[in-house]
């Protein structure tokens, strides 16, 4: 059970992010929650591809031995860049919302126009 600590960390990261998304009212805090969920997913992919006592899958001056799985690492690389793009887009929309409504509280925006 103690060896499952990375998976428990993944569950904790995703749950903290989900908590921020559901129970917080500030839009910036919700964006931080979504970023935490992304980090949890990245950690989950990396954790799935780890083998006991393995090295990175790179042959240049490698010390030899079994290698970690390369496909989850490549997918994580893709996921990180997508996360950056989505984070920038979300923050731009938050700036747009703040200039339009003058507040970041999700209960106050979205009502009738002025």
């Amino acid at each position: 059970m103690i060896f499952n600590i990375p998976f428990i960390a993944v569950a904790a990261l995703i749950l903290i992010g989900l908590y921020a998304v559901i129970f917080k009212r500030n839009l910036i805090k919700m964006v931080i929650g979504i970023t935490l969920i992304e980090s949890g997913v990245n950690l989950f992919l990396i954790t799935l591809g780890y083998r006991e006592g393995s090295i990175a899958p790179i042959y240049t001056s490698s010390p030899g031995g079994i290698m970690a799985l390369p496909v989850p690492q490549a997918l994580t690389l893709t996921s990180i860049v997508i996360g950056v793009a989505v984070l920038a887009l979300m923050l731009s929309l938050v700036i747009h919302i703040y200039r339009h409504y003058g507040t970041l509280d999700v209960r106050k925006i979205g009502g009738p126009e002025e």
Binding site: M1, F3, N4, I5, P6, F7, I8, V10, A11, I14, L15, L18, Y19, I22, F23, T47, L48, G49, Y50, R51, E52, G53, A56, P57, I58, Y59, T60, M67, L69, P70, V71, Q73, A74, L75, L77, T78, V81, I82, A85, V86, A88, L89, S92, L93, I95, H96, R99
Partner: protein
Amino acid sequence: MSRRDITAVLSFSIVAIFFIFGALMIHPFGAPDETGMDDNIITNAQTETGANNAVTSVVFDYRGLDTLGETTILFTAVAAIIMIFRRLNK
């Protein structure tokens, strides 16, 4: 505490229980179940793609279509951000 808050707390608790049980029940850390595809890539990456870095050979050769979609997402995000702020600056 309104009814909406109670519903939110209840659903969050159910999801949390499922996540914790999933984290405890999954295969032990460091021993993945299916490694056939990755072993094949690790064995053949140097002769098939000529790159010493197996991760780069997966990103740009074996799964190049994923990278194509990902660059498309980055391109779309940059275009959308420039469009949003161009409207805002006027």
